[in-house]
């Protein structure tokens, strides 16, 4: 049951990219205001890479390997830009939460 594989992949990539940014002490501090033990760095990295690979598998199984990889890289870029904006922009966090709520509620109606 997967009607919107591109959306799924985008969301997985956002999670992965945000995870990777949180695995960096500078951004961890910026967002969560606490230190980052080295085990957590590796945990976050592994988790993010797993999510990324899940996204890659999802898109390739729906679009084929060649087009899948191109789309995956493109969506990864968009996800990274989004993570960067959210890290550095307070209001954007609230706005994106609102958009996400709207999107989910609309998808559930349809």
């Amino acid at each position: 049951m997967m009607h919107y594989p591109v959306l799924t992949v985008l969301l997985l990539n956002v999670l992965a990219m945000t995870g990777l940014s949180l695995a960096m002490p500078k951004h961890h501090q910026q967002l969560l205001n606490n230190g980052l033990p080295s085990q957590r760095i590796w945990l976050l990295r592994m988790l993010s890479i797993t999510l990324m690979l899940m996204a890659l598998w999802t898109i390739c199984s729906s679009w084929g390997v060649a087009a899948g990889i191109v789309l995956w890289l493109g969506l990864l870029s968009l996800a990274a830009i989004y993570s960067l904006c959210v890290l550095n922009h307070q209001t954007l966090r609230v706005i994106s939460l609102m958009v996400l709520c709207l999107l989910i509620s609309l998808l559930l109606i349809i």
Binding site: S21, W63, G74, L84
Partner: protein
């Protein structure tokens, strides 16, 4: 590499990146902005042709009926036979549910191009009131790959695309902290913020930017690298006939011979490829060497995720005797590794291997590429406005002024010209002869005015005024649309016309973004004024 050598390598790469990109930046902005808009070629053309709906609502023509299609072929032949019986080429596209006209394109004996549109039922020329003569979204596509100047334009775009690849690679070499600064953006820090924006937009979308620049060159490989073709073939046509596995074009015999009834051959062709035909072509009509080709319906839906498109099917006849010369079954894939690779790259560049998802992705990443180029060009001057580097001795300030003027015209001026093109489409009277050409001409005229404006005003004022102009043009476009053709966002939504609604919404969003940028500029200007005032007060205080 020894440390000093490494240092000089980096320095030379930095110089290459700075100066190479400065020179290439203005042209690359044109290529990126118009390329990103060109992704939405079809929806923009749809928005720009509101009169099509009137024909669609009243026509009897049914694209699904074989008899109607044959009748359309006859109408095309009758018209062309009358206006250009001995032309170099006839080409016609049959009506569909997006564009209901029979679209004709032909070349006279001297290969000058002509075009016309016929009503699908009457076969008569469409009156101006039913046919808004416009290039629509194709204008942006043509700007993107040939700057409206043919082969010369393709070469210019290719040269700057090569500089783009140089800039991307030298940029990666001189960026010391790609991974450390991967997610870094420090806002409100002047030069630092511009550098962060330039780095982030470049690094985060690097795979796309490399892909799009490289595949862009690969699309025109036979133009950019023709030596292999000239060494092995008598003419480029012979080369293409071989790679496409189609019969080579026949030489003219200069013996007059009439073209046979094409609709009968068209019906045979549809049977041979077992699907509807969409395009027809006659080469050298009126000559005994004439050939007639029917191309099958292009089915974009079936191609999702495929990078190498199979043939839509084609059949070729002798246009005089009606003898069948060649059949290419639909579904046949091109052969040969090199040719297949080139085809795949072409599909990747054209973003037509999927639906609107792919197009939106390309649009957003393309715009990010434009942001990367624009922020780089702006950064060049932000850095030097704080401290002139005197690269050109006495002429330095004059060179900086030229860079400033071109930056404004290439960034905000281009944006104004692009949204201006939408205004021109609505405001230019329908009856003007050569209207489509006028639209493009006025696009360049608006752009030239922005260049003049930027040359006459101090740089910050120029930015400010042009951004206001852009925001106003974007935000008022829906009103112009409503007043001129009585269509607007709500009618589009009510009719579930997502393409037109999408075009209008996107323009509005760009207008809002311009307002946001203006607000930032104003805040910055106020902060600068305050700082200048306090410095002045301090100086006065010290003296007092």
């Amino acid at each position: 590499m020894p440390a000093t050598e490494k240092y000089y390598f980096r320095q030379s790469m930095a110089a290459l990146h700075t100066w190479g990109s400065l020179i290439a930046g203005w042209m690359l902005l044109v290529i990126f902005v118009t390329g990103s808009l060109g992704v939405f070629d079809e929806p923009i053309s749809h928005w720009m042709q509101p009169e099509r709906a009137a024909i669609l609502a009243t026509m009897d023509y049914d694209p699904g009926s074989a008899a109607d299609r044959q009748a359309a072929v006859s109408k095309a032949q009758t018209y062309l036979q009358e206006v250009e019986p001995n032309g170099h080429l006839w080409f016609a596209t049959l009506p569909d549910l997006e564009d209901p006209a029979i679209k004709l394109f032909w070349q006279d004996a001297d290969e000058n191009p002509h075009q016309a549109k016929l009503h699908p039922d009457s076969g008569k020329l469409l009156p101006a009131s039913l046919d808004r003569d416009t290039q629509g979204g194709h204008h942006f596509v043509h700007m993107h790959f040939e700057l409206h100047s043919g082969t010369l334009g393709i070469w210019i775009v290719g040269f700057f695309t090569l500089l783009m690849l140089v800039a991307l690679i030298s940029g990666v070499i001189i960026h010391r902290r790609i991974f450390k600064d991967f997610f870094t953006f420090r806002s409100r820090k002047g030069q630092r913020s511009w550098l962060d924006a330039h780095n982030a937009s470049g690094v985060l979308t690097l795979p796309f930017q490399l892909m799009i620049a490289f595949t862009g060159l690969a699309v025109f490989v036979s133009i950019y690298m023709p030596a292999a073709i000239f060494a092995h073939y008598d003419s480029p046509e012979a080369f293409f006939a071989e790679v496409f596995e189609r019969p080579a074009p026949r030489e003219m015999t200069n013996q007059p011979a009439p073209v046979t009834a094409l609709s009968t051959l068209f019906a045979q062709a549809e049977q041979a490829i077992d699907k509807p035909g969409q395009f027809i072509r006659v080469e050298h009509p009126g000559d005994s060497s004439a050939t007639f080709t029917v191309f099958g319906l292009f089915d974009a839906e079936a191609l999702k995720g495929r990078l190498i498109f199979p043939s839509s099917g084609m059949t070729e006849f002798d246009a005089v005797s009606g003898e069948q010369r060649h059949i290419e079954a639909p579904g046949a894939e091109p052969q040969g590794a090199a040719f297949r690779t080139q085809r795949a790259m072409r599909t990747l560049h054209f973003a037509n291997f999927g639906d609107y998802t792919v197009r939106w992705l390309y649009f957003l990443l393309g715009i990010t590429g434009a942001v990367m180029i624009a922020s780089g060009s702006i950064l060049f001057m932000v850095k030097r406005r704080q401290r002139a580097l005197n690269e050109f001795g006495n002429a330095t300030q004059r060179v900086y002024r030229v860079v400033d003027v071109l930056n404004v015209a290439a960034i905000s001026g281009l944006l104004i010209a692009c949204v201006g093109y939408f205004w021109i489409n609505r405001l230019l009277p329908l009856e003007i002869a050569g209207r489509a050409g006028w639209e493009v001409g006025l696009f360049f005229a608006v752009w030239a005015v922005t260049l003049l404006h930027s040359a006459l005003r101090p740089v910050m004022q120029a930015w400010h005024e042009q951004l206001i102009g852009f925001a106003v043009l974007c935000l008022l476009l829906p009103f112009v649309n409503a007043f001129t053709v009585d269509e607007h966002l709500f009618t589009y939504l009510a009719e579930r016309d997502w393409r037109a609604a999408g075009v209008e919404l996107t323009v509005i969003i760009f207008g809002l973004l311009a307002l946001k940028t203006l607000q930032k500029l104003r805040r910055k200007a106020v902060a600068n004024d305050r700082q200048a005032a306090s410095v002045k007060r301090e100086q006065v205080g010290v003296r007092g």
